[in-house]
Symmetry: C2
Subunit: 277 residues, 2 copies
């Protein structure tokens, strides 16, 4: 007797903007049988320059929206929110929550032989020292560097561009000098921002070959796939649904670059009126 | 018989962040007898990437706050808000309102002999074509270019830096090519973003000497000084008051660079709960 097909697992993915679509792209490859909801809080991006309290309030309202839409798992694809608001989100959400900071630190632990890790991220993520803390919990030493020009370079579309190569050269020479001063021997670089996977080739070219680059999107998808309980036989999932708090047209246009495939429909939502302050 | 001293004129200055402090710096020089309130909507910056409707809602709530604080004049030092929300602000404010787009266009009209003007600004300001429209109203032809890397370069502190010079060289070679294709002979460059005055020397060095650079902060202050009615004899004004919607500490630290003098005290306010949607 054939078993009835179960509903696919519904996974909510949250980011302040478009960068988290690199995580969704990887999730669609790793868990093709799941149903995905993606929320970009584009009216209030970037979170990177805001205070912890503001970021926590915004992230919790976003998580509540995804829960109201029936999410059974939450993936916090925003490094800033993972760094500064994961505890607040977990306190508000009665479902499993995975954040890119911990999945990145897990992957660094698995890859690093020396135990010394470098992290590049936005200013707010670095100032939070969330990666240092997550690495320390796993017995790793991490040095972190804020690279505030990389997101605008990606958004300008200057991916394979001499200015980007020069900016990366400057950032990495400063970071490697910082490692030498601290007498560390890093063998791993963690990309602590979801925009950075688009620069992966340029980043690898700017680093010594001995440094292994960890792409947070890829390792997050792998760890979510391992954590999510999937029914044995599921109906084919509907395509991902996209929600944004500002211009759906801009989300479609810019987001397609991060997702690596066209985005046809984006639903505009208002988180501010529903924010429980 | 001595006349009693009048209260100083109270002028509210609004920007999405810190950049408008370059306008306040000029205003303090041009109108030392006035009292200034400065509001940076730092929790919701940058406005540059948001939709017109969202920007108008944010800007009107900021204007209402400055009016509640007794402002008799409003200076919209945010190019994005001036470009996209000036009519909304004027509709909501029973006091004179001046925006940096119109003051910049006025100055371009006064300086340009050829009638052809170049404008550099953020993506949203350029997409609004507000400078083209304001220039056209004054009989000028304007070509506009979005320069999204300049704000993060200023915020990174890479002012006198080879990467910034190279980015400016690329942007201006594209802009001048655009002018040649349109058979224009520009003699004036309008800085359509309040961050750009900090790069003025580098911008002038990257341009042919025949191009006159108009600094929006300077020309806005001059035009506000001409428009504001000042009492003949006033009491010494109190120092400027600063309001921000996010981290006062960060406002003090970054804002001092734009104001060119230390900022000692910043009041944290919440515009979201008071926004009349």
């Amino acid at each position: 007797m054939a078993q009835p097909l179960s509903h696919p697992a519904r996974i909510g993915v949250f980011d302040s903007g478009f960068g988290g679509l690199t995580v969704l792209q990887a999730l669609l490859r790793y868990i093709p049988s799941a149903e995905f909801l993606y929320l970009g809080d584009t009216a209030r991006l970037p979170y990177g320059a805001k205070s912890r309290k503001t970021i926590a309030r915004y992230a919790v309202s976003a998580a509540e929206f995804l829960l109201d839409q029936g999410s059974q798992y939450l993936v916090i694809a925003c490094n800033t929110a993972s760094a500064l608001a994961l505890d607040d989100i977990r306190a508000a959400a009665p479902v499993p929550v995975l954040g890119v900071v911990e999945t990145g630190a897990n992957a660094a632990k698995a890859h690093s032989h020396s135990g010394d890790v470098m992290v590049i991220a936005t200013a707010a993520t670095v100032e939070s020292h969330a990666y240092s803390a997550a690495c320390a919990e796993r017995g790793l030493h991490a040095i972190e560097k804020a690279c505030p020009l990389l997101v605008p370079l990606v958004e300008e579309g200057w991916i394979d561009h001499p200015v980007t190569s020069e900016v990366l050269r400057i950032y990495f020479s400063e970071l490697l000098a910082q490692a030498r001063e601290a007498a560390l021997h890093p063998d791993t670089l963690l990309l602590g921002c979801t925009h950075y996977p688009l620069l992966r080739s340029q980043i690898e070219a700017a680093l010594p070959e001995s440094i292994h680059v960890i792409d947070s999107a890829e390792v997050t998808a792998a760890q979510v796939a391992a954590a999510v309980h999937l029914p044995a036989a599921v109906a084919a999932p509907p395509p991902p649904r996209f929600f944004a708090t500002d211009s759906p047209e801009k989300f479609r246009r810019l987001g397609s670059r991060f997702l690596g495939q066209p985005i046809h429909h984006v639903e505009l939502i208002d988180l501010e009126s529903s924010t429980r302050a």
